[in-house]
């Protein structure tokens, strides 16, 4: 029996009839065409699929679309304020070379943005611990951590570290 799922995705209301076994990540990618949310492992390990549900970061491969019914979902596509400007976290990833192939990046950024909602001034150790659920095969994490610390500074209104 199909279930009706209505959510707010990146500020827009959407409604679909889906099979109950539809994952949130499938709903976003296949029903809505929002392919910025990636599927790396599909086994709850890698964090490539991280989105925000009612402001909290979750793995969209480990949640049913039906479980997200009635919530507000934010994906990487909805993070920047407008098509011209990047979110400070996105800008910091670009400036600090925080990505190589870019596959893990949407999940890294969504997870890191959630960290800064809890802790506006994290230490390097706190950034590394928070990103426990996000795996990157390319960068060795160093520049990712630098980017998150840089973004935290920018968002607190401090001058940019890179340049």
């Amino acid at each position: 029996m199909a279930v009706s799922v209505s959510l707010n995705v990146n500020g827009k209301s959407v409604s679909r009839e889906v099979e109950p076994r539809t994952l949130l990540v499938e709903f976003l990618r296949e029903e809505l065409g929002l392919t910025g949310t990636h599927v790396g492992c599909d086994t709850s390990q890698c964090g490539a699929c991280v989105v925000h549900v009612d402001g909290k970061s979750v793995k969209a491969c480990t949640m049913l679309a039906a479980q997200a019914n009635g919530t507000s979902v934010l994906t990487i596509e909805g993070l920047a304020p407008n098509p011209e400007d990047l979110h400070p976290m996105q800008a910091a990833f670009r400036d600090n070379h925080g990505l190589q192939c870019g596959f893990c990046t949407p999940g890294m950024i969504m997870s890191a943005v959630d960290l800064l909602q809890h802790n506006a001034d994290p230490s390097e150790q706190e950034v590394r611990e928070w990103l426990e659920g996000n795996i990157c095969r390319c960068t060795g994490y160093h520049n990712i951590v630098k980017a998150v610390l840089d973004a935290a500074g920018r968002m607190r209104g401090q001058p940019q570290a890179a340049e």
Binding site: M1, R21, S44, V50, T62, M63, L64, G133
Partner: protein, 265 residues
């Protein structure tokens, strides 16, 4: 995943009657264990009953000297809760060390204890603290609740509603985590309540969580890290896998117990 029907009741009563009336219904809490299980087709329920709409299952309160945590309270909520932090700080720290931030935002205490993964953290806390698991039918002491690997005293259709944890005089949890998943390779909770010392071990036992009675005895003599570390734990009943041999796990039990004791004082 096999197909199933999905229900989202708004009360415990409604959830229990759905479980009773459907052919093979199962509850979903945070889904952090159940959804991976369904993806692997290791389970084939006809119906999923989502407890996330049941408000009465959420939240933390004190009942006299007992900390009461609703089954649907997430790990992140337990970790950040001021009442938990002041009553049993070791429990807040334990919740903060489960998996990763996204798992903690979804996974629940009720789901973790019902699942009784042999490497899960909460079972060790419940056993060491002498907690009580309250269900739709009855109250079960932690000693009777955890009956073996992935096995509990829960009957089909029975829902865990809350966990009651008496505030200890002191307690601490020390975990040697698997570096990838953060599940415990060995995790030890040490608690002292009313002059009695209880030591519970997760991650190590072939039958899941257990009490290390020889370490409890040693600590009753002298409550010191050295006393815990001096106990030679037998590898006979320890599990072994690619992460750690039975000998290594046995060794880690005393080491983690001694770290937990050190963190108690």
């Amino acid at each position: 995943m096999y197909a199933f029907d999905y229900h989202k009741p708004s009360s415990v009563e409604e959830a229990a009657s759905l479980l009773a009336s459907k052919e093979d219904a199962t509850v979903v809490a945070g889904g952090q264990t159940l959804i991976p299980t369904l993806k692997h087709r290791l389970a084939q329920p006809t119906d999923l009953v989502d407890l996330s709409g049941v408000a009465e299952l959420k939240g933390v309160k004190m009942d006299g000297d007992t900390l009461v945590i609703g089954a649907m309270t997430t790990h992140a909520e337990v970790a950040a809760d001021a009442t938990v932090r002041s009553a049993i700080p070791a429990l807040a720290d334990l919740a903060d060390g489960i998996g990763d931030a996204q798992v903690r935002n979804c996974g629940t205490i009720g789901g973790s204890v019902s699942n009784n993964d042999p490497a899960a953290d909460y079972p060790a806390a419940l056993l060491a603290l002498g907690a009580t698991v309250v269900t739709t039918n009855r109250s079960i002491s932690a000693d009777d609740f955890f009956t073996g690997m992935f096995d509990t005293a829960l009957e089909p259709g029975e829902i865990v509603t809350e966990i009651r944890l008496p505030k200890p005089a002191r307690a601490a949890y020390a975990k040697f985590p698997n570096p990838a998943s953060r599940y415990a390779i060995v995790g030890v909770m040490v608690a002292e309540s009313g002059g009695q010392i209880r030591v519970a071990v997760t991650g190590a036992g072939q039958d899941g969580v257990f009490r290390a009675t020889d370490i409890e005895q040693a600590l009753s003599g002298a409550f010191s890290a050295e006393a815990a570390k001096a106990v030679k734990v037998s590898p006979e009943t320890m599990s072994a896998d690619i992460h750690a041999s039975a000998d290594y796990r046995a060794h880690l039990v005393s080491v983690m117990a001694s770290r937990a004791v050190a963190a108690c004082s």
